[in-house]
């Protein structure tokens, strides 16, 4: 069961967007600022038994229940080493709220269009699936994440 329509092709044309930057497993990533509802610090998260491994649990955001997705697991990278506080980027899809657990949330930026590149073909499949392109920043690369695709979880995990 697909929860959400996969990102429309047009969304790949992300150049010139304002992005919230975040860090997952030392990689700088960006998500469109318009799709972010909230940024939260470390939150108490309730485990959901029998949920797919990507689902970290659920949390309470001002009386609404938010499903937390572990972005590290979703991207297939190793879990964070021991208890470092994690931040959440809250986004809304189809009337439900989701929190993406990330290592850090950084500044909001609008990188120049000229620095945008398509995905390099050698990108690992787990990343290629959720990646909408790359920005060449001054000293590092920023991966643009497709939130729609990240939230398209099938129950079988």
């Amino acid at each position: 069961m697909a929860l959400l329509e996969p990102g429309v092709q047009g969304e790949r044309d992300v150049a010139g967007q304002t992005l919230v930057t975040l860090i997952v497993a030392d990689q700088l990533c960006g998500v469109p600022v318009m799709s972010v509802r909230d940024i939260l610090g470390e939150q108490p998260i309730t485990r959901i038994p029998l949920a797919p491994p990507e689902i970290a649990g659920s949390l309470n955001l001002r009386g609404r229940i938010v499903t937390a997705i572990d972005l590290r697991r979703r991207l297939g990278v190793l879990p964070a080493s021991g208890g470092a506080p994690r931040m959440s980027v809250v986004t809304e899809q189809g009337g439900d709220l989701y929190a993406l657990l990330v290592d850090q949330v950084r500044e909001v930026m609008t990188p120049p269009e000229s620095s945008f590149e398509d995905n390099p073909p050698t990108l690992p499949p787990a990343w290629a699936e959720f990646c909408n392109g790359i920005y060449r920043l001054q000293n590092r690369l920023m991966v643009v994440l497709d939130i729609g695709r990240i939230l398209t979880l099938s129950p079988e995990g």
Binding site: M1, L3, P44, T46, R47, I48, P49, L50, A51, P52, I55, G57, S58, L59, N60, R62, G63, R64, I65, T67, G94, D96, Y98, L153, P155
Partner: protein, 864 residues
Amino acid sequence: MDDLLVEFLTETNENLAELDVALVKLEREPDDGATLSQIFRLVHTIKGTCGFLGLPRLEQLAHAAENVLGRVRDGVLVVTPGLISTVLAAIDQIKFIVTSLGVAGLEPEGTDTALIARLAVVSEGEASVPSGVAPALASVLVGAAEGVSPAPILKPAGHEMASVEGSGSNQTIRVGVDVLEDLMTLVSELVLTRNQILQLARNHESAAFSVPLQRLSHITTDLQEGVMKTRMQPIGNAWAKLPRLVRDLTMELDKRIELVMHGAETELDRQVLELVKDPLTHMVRNSADHGLEPAAERRAAGKGEIGHIFLNAYHEGGHIVIEVRDDGRGLPVEKIRAKAVAKGLATEVELSGMTESQILRFIFRAGFSTAAAVTAVSGRGVGMDVVKTNVERIGGTIELESTVGKGTTFIIKIPLTLAIVSALIVEAGGERFAIPQLSVVELVRAGMKAVDAQDDGEPIVQLIDQTPVLRLRNRLLPLINLNTLLHLGPDRTNDTDARRFIVVAQVGASLLGIVVDRVFDTEEIVVKPVAPIMRHVTMFSGNTILGDGSVIMILDTNGIARATGIAGTAEARRASEAAVLARTTVHERTAILLFRAGGSAPKGVPLGLVARLEEIETAAIEGMTGEEVTQYRGRLMPIVAMSGTLDLGKPRQSVLVFADAERRLAHDRCMGLVVDEIIDVVEDVVNIQLGAERRGILGRAVIAEKATEIIDTSYWLTQAFADWFDSTGRIGSTVGSRLLAVDDSAFFRQLLEPSLVAAGYQVTSVGSAAAALALAETGARFDAIVSDIEMPDMDGIAFVSRLRSSSCWSTLPVIALTGLATPTQVEAGRAAGFTDYVRKFEREALLASLRQCLAVPTENRLLA
């Protein structure tokens, strides 16, 4: 003013406002099908509601307008300004009537003949109102044509009308559900914040704050309740129109129909309520139209002339269940099968592999209608497929059961998406979970015990090849460990030392035990649906936010039962029933006194029946042959020789003394039964074989590996006392029925049980009303109860009233046994709920009464 009318006015005013806009839009874009459908629907709704409310003038007008629109929709007529003007004129007139209704509560005097005629002309395609005539002018024209009407028909929507509307519409306002939803979220947040502040205040004792804080706390609670209340409505609101609908259908269809509604107070979410309203109305209409037969047909089928439609709503395990049942003809499987083939929905081959219930489900397919002719009542092409779609849209399911000749039942199950439930909070594997209180039967604490431990009635966990089961009183419950089920941690149920918390939950007809680590409090929770990604996990019915702000999952006991195969399926029910049955038919070992009397075969009598064994000197026996007596403990005791005559040659006689001294009501009877020789006392399971060939013998049983004749004590008692009835005869038709005998006297139980067993019943006997009620709680099943009246603690009258008021045995026949019954006592007994009265020791009368009670099928008893 009538509530229905107020509601109608609010709704119609809204519809009318919408209609104005839509009609004007249609005039501009005559080909806009969506707008046309919207207009048609609005007018249709007004017409339909008028019909139910008995507003003939409005109905006629709306009907005429609907006809015009219907023909436009069918493509017969094209939209012209003239046509729109005429329809608008009709709408204006409807507004006028509605306004008058709002003021006076009655339709205004006068008729709309001319306007209706005009609409009829338009609908015939001869609309001749010149194009370009303004609606108002057309209205005036119509009004003028009407001429004869005394009152001005048209009061064009002026200030006057607006003011009337203004005064009439402030009773209720409609608020968007999302506004309420937001309010709810804010209130939840407020509650949490309040709790935090209260916590802080406790740590910093400050008198200045405590009073306003208290007030804030109360207001918050009231606010929370108020907001909750805005969302919840009794389902009766959706049913309010149904009695009227059924009444009208009764007239239209010329059938006699009675609508029986239960559980109207069951609350459900407003949003859900709105969505089930139409499907329910449709189903009731269907039942009346298709399900129930005309009176003549019912008479021919041997049913009462009046057909019934039952509506029943109740909460069940996180769901609201709504049943729509009729006692009509049932669904015609063959017709549905034929239709499915005719419609190309399935092939004969596919159908041959389907069960009856699968075939019945074809009625939920689009375009399927079982009625040979679509009647006016069944509306314009809305079928069960729409009902199913609507129910499924809110996450519900619809089931149907049908028996030809008996009726059809639809069962709609809707999740309590936003309903408030009370839940028990438990912990397993370090996580907390909520179990809806409705499905929790009890909480027990039990641990493993050595297998040979004494059964002291404490609930204990025992193993059947590593599978733990719970022995609770006299039931065996399957155990599910929440840790294991949810992969939270190791299962420690089998630890011998640990006493575990077990939540006993009811799933359908079966019980199961859920092993948890800890049990907290109960809390009122607001059920929220789980994220879509988790919907495949059937163990959860939702999640919720607790008072302390944490999110927890709500366990669905039905889902757990399904996932673990305990499911409340028919098979499981039957199995549990069989298990209960098996338990109740297992006889306790009974001490039997073996003796010899007249013949070589040993004879036996339950030792409990025998008061004493005596050796009496033959010389002490006086009286004539057959009526011997002896002085025994200061009174005369009749002596009966089992072999017929006393062997006067023996110096002493072995006598079994039967006494009823322990009974307060009896006047201390006792008798002596003379036997040849007393052999032994053994303990064995007495399994009496039917068919004794001699009087005084109940039947044979194998005791101590020897065929033994069990004597019919009651027969011998009657030999001693003339007023004790002769007891012969056997019964056949109700053999195998399960009886429960309740009597505080062990003597009487011992007397009763063998004679009933011999008559072919399976008998369980208990010594007090309390024990019987405890048995009822365990779900043991019986077909009838035989109870003593005079018992200590709880007497028979109290016992039967308890059974009748609340118990799964409330419909069982209960026969009272009594020593002496005056007509007043009998009357009191019957009033309390006894089915019949039988005098003690009148075995034949008891058997006859049992036969009679058991011959009546349960259903009839229920109705009686």
